[in-house]
Every structure is written in C-alpha cells, then in structure tokens.
C-alpha cells in the first residue's frame, strides 16, 4: 500500500515534469528557429545599408580593383527576366487553374494534372536550368535572356495554377448561375464574373509565384548566364540580381562582397514587401467581401 502510494506520487511528479519539459522544449525550439531569421535580417540591414547608395542603382559594375560601381544592369536584367517569365507563366497558369476548377472538377484528368503540377513544383530549380539549357540554349547556340525567362516562367506555372484553382473554388455557385441565367455565354461568365470575383486571390497567387522566382539563381546560371555590361537584348546573355550576388559572394574582393550584401538587401526588401502585401490581402477579407 505504502509503495503504491509512493509510486503514484512519483508518477504524478514525473508527469508534471514531462509536461513542463515539453513546454520548455517547444518554446526553446521556437526561439532557436526565429533566431537565425532575425540574425539574417540584422546582418542584411547592417551590411547592406552601409554600401547602398545612389551608385548602386545607377552604375554598372566597376572593373576589379576600382571603387564604386553598382548593379543597375543586374536590376534591369532581373526586371527583363521576370517580365518574360510572367508573360509565359501567368496566362498559362491561370488558364490551367480555370480548367482545374471550372471544367475538370472531380474528373480523373484534373486530378492527374493537379498532381503533375505539384510534382513540377517540387522539381529542383537547378534541374529546370539544365533542362532549359538543353531545350533552348543548345539549339540557339548561346546563352540568352529568353532562355532565362523560359526557365523562370515554367517554374511559375504550377504555383499560379494551384492558387488560381483554390481561389476559383471559393467563388459561390450562385454567382455563376446568376450570370448564366442572364444568358451570358459560359466563357464570358468565367472571365468577367468568376475570375473577376476571385481576382484579389488570383493576383495574390501570381505575386507569390513572382516572389519565388525573383530570388532564383540556379536556373539562371546556364541560361541567362550573367553579363557585366548593359544589355536588354533577348538573344544576349543578361545580368540578374541573384546571379550577380552569387558571383560577387564567391569573389575574393571586399568591394564585391559589399555589393553582394547590398544586392541581397534590395532583393529581400522586394520579396518581403510582396509577401507582406499578399498576407495583407488574404487576411483582410478582401475575398470575403467579394464573395
């Protein structure tokens, strides 16, 4: 009897202990996870702002050993690449999303397409670069901005398609029925009624995909290749911000390291602003208001 009592208090102590231990561990792991993020941001801001000046946005890279210089050509190059990627990825992605939600709901084909999109989403970006190299660069006999745009565009498709589908599924049926009841043709009702209703969400998806490929480096190494000079021609190699950061980070020059930090800061600000905007749009009930 006495031992039993003893073991039961021991048991209670043990349970109390593990309960609190688990809480402490969970809190500790959260702190451990948040710490590197905060460290990265502090480092970026401190090291980035110190070398961020007007030259960064207006000058092309200076030759090795010279002070100054900027990444103007890389910023413009990134804009060209991302523009190309959006032109390719967003229309195809939205159209695929419309198919998945409006025509193929529950059908076997749409399940397979959805699954393929998820798989495509998981393909490593470096593999995408190699594939586009074989597909575009080899036949064209040269690195080009066009090839880089294609690689990034393909990477945008699955994200855009899946978010478009999810957003269209949230549009209530009564709206579609009302449009069809007024005699609006099916295609017209999809574009001007269903898609328009879900527009905030669809734009959100596009921006997420955009933010994702904006920082991609691996698919650009042997498609867009990089360029030390001004170039916006689609059939020529073009500079890109992430690519420039990569090259400068691995270089042995302090001046270039500083530029790499500044470039990263610009890139991160761009991405964080778009992610925050997306979050604002999705949580502030813009969608709820529309539906």
């Amino acid at each position: 009897m006495a031992t039993q009592l003893n073991s039961s208090t021991l048991n209670r102590r043990w349970r109390w202990f593990t309960n609190h231990l688990a809480t402490v561990l969970a809190v500790a792991s959260t702190i451990l996870v948040v710490a590197p993020l905060i460290a990265i941001f502090i480092d970026l801001v401190v090291k980035g702002t110190s070398s961020l000046n007007l030259n960064f946005f207006t000058k092309i890279p200076a030759p090795v050993g010279e002070q100054g210089g900027g990444m103007a050509n890389a910023i413009v190059g990134s804009a060209v690449l991302l523009g190309l990627a959006s032109l390719l990825g967003i229309p195809i992605g939205i159209a695929a999303g419309i198919y998945l939600s409006e025509y193929g709901r529950g059908s076997k084909l749409s399940n397979v397409v959805r699954f393929t999109a998820d798989v495509l989403n998981g393909v490593p970006s470096i593999v995408m670069g190699v594939a586009v190299y074989a597909l575009v660069v080899v036949p064209a006999k040269g690195y080009s901005a066009f090839a880089g745009g294609v690689a990034l565009g393909i990477m945008m498709i699955p994200t855009v398609a899946r978010t478009t589908e999810e957003m269209l599924l949230m549009v209530p049926h009564s709206i579609r029925e009302a449009a069809l009841g007024l005699g609006v043709p099916n295609w017209r009702s999809m574009i001007s009624i269903t898609l328009k209703t879900a527009m905030p969400g669809v734009i959100t998806g596009c921006m997420l995909a955009f933010a994702r490929v904006a920082g991609e480096t691996a698919p650009l190494i042997f498609t867009a290749f990089g360029n030390q000079f001004w170039s916006t021609a689609l059939n020529q190699p073009v500079a890109a911000l992430p690519l420039q950061i990569y090259v400068y980070a691995l270089s042995p020059y302090d001046e270039w390291h500083r530029l790499a930090w500044a470039g990263s800061l610009v890139l991160i600000v761009l991405i964080v602003v778009s992610v925050a905007l997306v979050r604002f749009v999705t949580t502030r009930g813009v969608l709820k208001g529309a539906s």
């Binding site: 349970r15 593990t18 451990l32 480092d43 593999v127 393909i154 043709p185």
Partner: protein, 349 residues
C-alpha cells in the same frame, strides 16, 4: 410552343421589356424573333465556349507536356554517358573530367548525407515549433510567428548562401566545431582539419532552409486533428503534453512523416546555398567537417566550365537522377499528406 414557329423574319429590336413567354399570343412575331436572335447568339457562343474550353484544357495539359519535355531533354542530352558508363556511373567514385572518367558516387553520398544532417537538425525543431504554435502559443503571438516562419521560406537560396559564407561559417569554425570535435571526435564524424566550409555547414544551412516547410505542413496536419480528440484525452485527466502526444501527434504522425519527406525533397534539390558553403570537392570522407559536393552543387559549380560533350553529358545525367529522385520523393510525400488532410477543408489561410 413559340419555339416551333418557323417565322424567319427577325427585326433586330431588342426591347428588354418585351415578354418572352406566350403572354400575348397575338404579338407572336416579336417574341419569336427575340428568342431566335438569342438562340442564334447561343449558337455562336457554343463555338466560343468550346474554343475557350479547349484552350483551357490545352494550358492544363501543358503542365504534363512540360514534365515530359524535361524528362525527354534530360535523357537525350545525357545519352553519351548513359551509353558509356551505364549503371556503373552511380557506383564509381572517380570524378576525373580530364581523363573523361566519371563516377557520381561522391555526389550521391554528399546529397544523402547533407540532407540527413539537415533532417536530424530540423525535424525536432520543426515539430517543436508546430506544437508550440498550434497548442501553446497565445493568439497574439501566433500570427506574428507564423508570418516569421513564412518569411524564412521566402528568403532566396542565394541570400542564405551569402549569409552562410560570411556569418554562419565563421561562427561554426570559431565556436561550434571545436566543441563538436571535443565531444564527438571519438566517433570520427567530427575530425580535424576544420575549414568551416564543408558537409556540416551545408547541413546546417539546409536545416534552416527546410525548417519552415516542415513546420508549416506539420502545423497544417495537426490543425486537421479534430478537437474532440484533444477534449477526450484531456477529459481522462491527461496533462497538456500527454494530450499533445496521445491526442494530436499520434493522430497526425502519418502527415508529419509526409511533411518530413517533403522537406527531404527540398533538401535533396537545394542548390545555391549548398554550392556556396560545401567546398566542392568530389571526395567521400567520414568527417562531416571535410569539404564535399552534392549532386545539385556539382552541376551549379561545374556546368558552365564543362567544355567537352562527355563532361556535360555526365553533369546532365546527374541532373536526370536528381529529377527522378525528387519526383519519387515528392509523390510519396504528397500521397501521405493527402491521405491525412483529405477529409478536412483546405487550410484556412
């Protein structure tokens, strides 16, 4: 009834107020014409509708086509080494571009080991974060913390690499590695010389990168566990930890495994950050502190310099292997996550 009338005359007046039904049988021509124009328009729109439909279907199928095209291009471009080395390509450990002798084993080894190191470091932390966020966190903090973990996922790989080179690697070399050598040196896994860059640094940066994926998916799976489960366990007198362990984690374990495998898929293919800190050396060494190379990093580092066809073909074959492996891993993980979250509504973003 009106539809049957074969009066072809259709004055194009579209009077919205005109009755469509047979309200006034005397004024038959007017409603007929309206219905006729309406039906003719319908006929036109059928063409537009089916065109639209086919267009959308085409775009959906293009996703298929892209995956098929990627696979095809990779196979075609690596034919040279596929024919020359066959399966031996993946068991040979000599990587000698000058003498055109290629074996990919060091890279396969590097990929597996760096991913394992990343998983060992990331999984407990990720599950801890997920538990904290779903079961313990005060509401006010939850939004902020999930935003922070989302941001962690949005940082580009190359920025992680930059940070790793200039901050993480000196930190590891100066403080963490000496401790590990002292404590775990006897295992042979942490043996000097220590350059800072190497397998362990790559594993740590990979862990930081895959954490958000694993923890957000784990959270999703844990939220999908019905509240009645938690209440039932609590009603039996369990403590909070026992409730989490028996009521939540046990029910969500398949989904958690799925999310871990998804994180593994990401770690296998991660390129830039790894390429920047792993040291790029095609060798297999027991010590985690030694420089190594992964399948993705060798492509990134050597592809632009690969001058002859065999070298290039060898690198593309590594890409093909990476493609196949990540597809298999992803399919497996998706099936697991899908099996668990199926019955519940899509994540409440």
């Amino acid at each position: 009834m009106n539809l049957r009338i074969q009066e072809p005359r259709a004055p194009k007046s579209i009077d919205a107020a005109a009755p469509l039904g047979g309200l006034a049988p005397v004024a038959v021509p007017a409603p007929t014409s309206q219905i006729r124009t309406f039906l003719q328009n319908r006929g036109n729109s059928r063409l537009a509708d089916s065109t639209f439909r086919w267009l959308m279907l085409l775009c959906a199928l293009s996703i298929f086509a892209i995956v098929a095209l990627i696979a095809n291009e990779l196979v075609m471009s690596s034919k040279l080494t596929l024919a020359k080395f066959g399966f031996k390509f993946f068991v040979g450990s000599a990587w000698d571009p000058v003498n055109e002798n290629f074996g990919a084993l060091p890279f396969v080894y590097g990929t597996i080991v760096s991913s394992l190191v990343a998983l060992v470091l990331a999984v407990p932390l990720a599950v801890g974060v997920a538990v904290f966020l779903t079961e313990m966190c005060p509401k006010a903090l939850r939004g902020f913390l999930s935003f922070v973990t989302e941001l962690l996922a949005a940082i580009p790989s190359v920025v992680y690499g930059l940070w790793a080179i200039f901050v993480l690697v000196p930190l590891l070399r100066g403080y963490v590695d000496p401790i590990l050598i002292k404590l775990l040196g006897w295992t042979g896994l942490f043996a000097p010389p220590d350059f800072g860059i190497g397998m362990f640094a790559a594993g740590v940066i990979l862990a930081i990168m895959i954490l958000p994926i694993i923890s957000s998916l784990t959270r999703e799976v844990m939220t999908a566990v019905p509240y009645t489960q938690r209440e039932a366990v609590l009603a039996l007198g369990a403590t909070r930890w026992e409730m989490i362990r028996m009521g939540v984690l046990r029910n969500a374990r398949i989904g958690i495994v799925g999310s871990i495998i998804l994180g593994l898929g990401r770690a296998l293919g991660e390129t830039m950050a790894v390429a920047m800190v792993i040291g790029s050396s095609p060798t297999i060494s027991k010590s985690l502190l030694a420089p190594a190379a992964t399948m993705a990093s060798v492509i990134a580092n050597e592809f632009a310099e690969a001058s002859d066809d065999t070298y290039r073909s060898a690198l593309i074959e590594i890409g093909l292997a990476l493609f196949l492996v990540t597809i298999v891993v992803n399919i497996f993980a998706r099936l697991l996550v899908w099996a668990v979250t199926r019955g519940t509504p899509a994540r409440a973003a």
